[in-house]
């Protein structure tokens, strides 16, 4: 077999080859290059629908890679400094679940910060592992969860010597990193694996002056959202592993839930994005940093907003900070983050990543130009001029440490009853409640519902946060354990 280099695109090239060979298709998909659905071709473009083909010998098969997908995964592993890389087409959610389910079985313990993405707790509901939460630090002024301190990590490891692994956000949605290098050393000393959720950290692998990546830090597995800052198509992702885990077993675990009809649009986009990152990543992320720094400086000069940055770094709760994240605290102009988020979209035609109670987050990428950055800064300055009001009455915290009463799987599958949310104080929650984004559960199955949490939930709803997670689509009723 030919040996490929980082300049190659094994999957895309195989697709091109089969297109040029004008293969006659008596297989799925039935649109057959768009001929069977003219409107699809017209709407999505001919190049796009022609790439939408099924697994076949020359194109390999994601469930059992042996040719071009295998080669493309090898190149990705090399590019990210991993021993193995798995292409994931069910979103980073599937990568996170693949990690957790690869390292623990029902009843096993896994240590994680409570401000994990819902996908991590979902994995626990599915496979019955038990979380041991480390409460993240909290920045009182900003109201956001921070990282885990080494003291908390060490204590938790010592108290739970039977835990199989520890999961680390690298970074959090807001860009905050824990001391992953030391966590890896400590965990490995105690025979535990380290899993990293790098949904927001693809750029760490290619940029300079950024926090350390999980693979460089020696972590055993990482879920990397290539589609977020890496430039691949939405829903495509990577699961990276070191040879400390059995890659063939990981593949089996992934195949428990991943589709058997992997999209070649997604697969080839991972391939193309990997090549681009290797070639241009350094430059792209330097520019991204420069734009974020410029925006932060201009926004902070305005007064009223606080675009936070590396000054948060205390080498403890915030071990490191990802400066490419443009997170802005808005409470001091008297507006909740979600209100600024809504005004930006509805009045100024600017869509940002999310707004929560006290902050907004704008994602800056290689796709931005000065013009867009200037528009965002200008719109924020206008919003302050027009809407600024007294901040009295605004909620000042984002994150409430939960009280865990029961394992997530046990609570999710327990006998439950549906009650009005506000009548549930003191009960054990049987499902999730969260704002999306960021998708960090306010309540997860097995946690005690408190007045504090109810007040927060009501406030978030009133301010217009997009709530989700409960069986009741209106988030008025909640399932609690009987």
């Amino acid at each position: 077999m030919l040996s490929f280099t980082q300049e190659d695109l094994p999957i895309f090239d195989a697709l091109e080859k089969q297109r040029l060979e004008r293969l006659v298709h008596f297989d799925v998909p039935g649109h057959k290059g768009g001929r069977g659905n003219k409107e699809l071709k017209q709407c999505l473009g001919e190049t796009c629908v022609k790439l939408d083909v099924n697994s076949m010998k020359p194109l390999d098969n994601l469930c059992h890679p042996s040719s071009v997908i295998k080669e493309a995964q090898k190149l990705a592993a090399e590019a990210f400094g991993a021993d193995e890389a798995f292409f994931i087409v069910n979103g980073t959610t599937a990568a996170v679940q693949g990690m957790i389910m690869s390292v623990c079985k029902a009843g096993d313990k896994v240590i994680m910060p409570r401000n994990v993405h819902r996908s991590a707790i979902n994995a626990l509901v599915i496979n019955g592992a038990i979380p041991v939460y480390i409460n993240p630090g909290i920045n009182k002024h900003l109201g956001i969860p921070l990282g885990m301190t080494m003291e908390d990590v060490e204590r938790t490891i010592l108290e739970n010597p039977d835990a199989k692994a520890i999961l680390v956000n690298n970074p959090t949605y807001y860009g905050i990193c824990s001391n992953i290098v030391e966590i890896v050393k400590l965990a490995h000393k105690h025979g535990m694996l380290v899993l990293a959720d790098e949904a927001h950290g693809t750029h760490f692998y290619f940029g300079e002056n950024l926090p350390i990546s999980a693979m460089a830090a020696g972590a055993d597995m990482s879920a990397v959202s290539m589609h977020k800052t890496g430039g691949s198509l939405t829903q495509s992702s990577l699961l990276l592993t070191k040879n400390t885990v059995n890659a063939d077993y990981v593949r089996q675990i992934i195949n428990l839930t991943q589709t058997t009809s992997a999209s070649y649009l997604l697969l080839s986009s991972l391939d193309i994005a990997r090549k681009n990152l290797v070639k241009n990543g350094k430059e792209m992320f330097a520019r991204m940093l420069q734009m974020a720094d410029y925006a932060r400086e201009e926004i902070n000069r305005m007064e009223g907003y606080y675009a936070f940055g590396e000054e948060l770094v205390d080498r403890n709760l915030t071990f490191d900070f990802d400066q490419t994240k443009l997170s802005i605290h808005t409470r001091d102009i008297g507006l909740a983050g979600i209100e600024v988020y809504d005004i930006l979209r509805d009045d100024y035609g600017i869509q940002i990543e999310f707004g929560d109670i006290g902050n907004i987050l704008a994602i800056i990428s290689a796709g931005d130009r000065n013009l867009e950055i200037e528009r965002l800064i200008a719109a924020l300055s206008e919003i302050k001029r027009i809407y600024k009001r007294d901040k009295a009455g605004l909620f000042d915290h984002e994150y409430i440490n939960p009280k865990i009463v029961m394992g997530p799987q046990e609570a999710f599958y327990a006998e439950k009853e549906s009650l009005l949310l506000n009548d549930c104080s003191g009960r054990i929650c049987g499902e999730f409640v969260m704002c999306y984004p960021p998708g960090i559960p306010i309540l997860a199955p097995g946690e005690k519902i408190t007045d504090d949490i109810l007040n927060y939930t009501n406030y978030a709803k009133e301010k217009g946060c997009f709530m989700t997670g409960t069986e009741d689509m209106n988030i008025e009723y909640i399932n609690v354990v009987k």
Binding site: Y348, N370, L371, I377, A378, E382, R385, I386
Partner: protein, 281 residues
């Protein structure tokens, strides 16, 4: 051999002129810049393939952008021109002795350099000592300024390139606060005729109305622009473009113009029905 330049007015409509020679062709940080010498339109400035101004008919655009507000506002001293790197708006403004300061904010220094070298008919007044050129994004320049200008003229390209940010609600809001309490904003407002442009005309008008208590448009005829039927926005904090027109005072200034006069000034604000419908005026 014949060399023709084509300006794509819409996906399905083209406007072409025969070219004598190409004077400049280069790519700046922001855009591709061409300066052509044509037979019937004289020199033509082209940015990213789109026609900006021609030697033959630029006077219509620049006279209408400048003299309309100048004949309404009684005491303009300080003017901000956003865009306008070719110098045409500044040329018309320097005809007024009462103006003390003209800030021209052009994002692309190359446009100014090329116009100064090859298009002196338009750019000469950029060397007037009242004119100060700032090479910056217009939206950034104006963001930190409050209550300073009597008149702002937005003299920019269409909203599908570097000038996109100058057709937005945030930009018009920033202009509002940069103007004094009786300030006027004039903006290049595109043509209402073709559907694609009509939508941006409509959007820009809505955005201006959000900030300015008084806002309307006026029209002129510019042969080289798409459809030829061109609009300017007139947004003001205090003055009405017709009621507050002091035609006697303006005519006594003795300013030479080839398109503008105070009778045409009034007529320019009477709009076709379809334009009134589009803008809900």
């Amino acid at each position: 051999m014949e060399l023709w330049y084509t300006d794509q007015h819409t996906d399905n409509v083209r406007f072409s002129m025969k070219v004598e020679k190409e004077l400049v062709s280069l790519e700046s940080f922001y855009q591709k810049i061409n300066l052509l010498k044509t037979y019937d339109y004289g020199k033509v400035l082209v940015l990213d393939g789109e026609l900006m101004i021609t030697e033959r008919d630029e006077f219509i655009y620049h006279e209408m952008a400048v003299h309309v507000p100048m004949a309404v506002h009684p005491k303009v001293k300080k003017v901000l021109v956003i865009g306008g790197g070719d110098g045409g708006s500044a040329r018309e403004l320097t005809k007024y002795d009462t103006i003390e300061q003209i800030d021209v904010v052009e994002v692309d220094a190359e446009v100014v350099r090329i116009c100064k070298e090859f298009f002196p008919e338009v750019s000469d007044s950029l060397s007037d000592k009242r004119v100060k050129i700032h090479f910056e994004e217009g939206i950034r320049f104006a963001r930190g300024i409050y209550d300073e200008y009597d008149l702002i003229i937005v003299d920019c390209a269409d909203p599908y390139g570097p000038a996109e940010g100058l057709f937005t609600r945030e930009f018009y809001g920033i202009c509002w606060k940069a103007l004094k309490e009786d300030g006027i904003l004039i903006n290049q407002h595109e043509s209402p005729y073709y559907e694609q442009h009509a939508r941006s005309v409509q959007m820009a008008h809505k955005h201006i109305q959000f900030s300015f208590p008084y806002s309307t448009v006026y029209q002129c005829h510019i042969p080289s622009y798409p459809s030829g039927h061109w609009l300017f926005g007139f947004a003001s904090k205090k003055y009405d473009p017709i009621k507050d027109l002091d035609d006697e005072k303006w005519n006594n200034l003795g300013i030479q113009t080839r398109y503008y006069n105070t009778k045409l000034h009034q007529g320019a604000f009477y709009l076709p029905n379809y334009v009134m419908e589009l803008l809900e005026i």
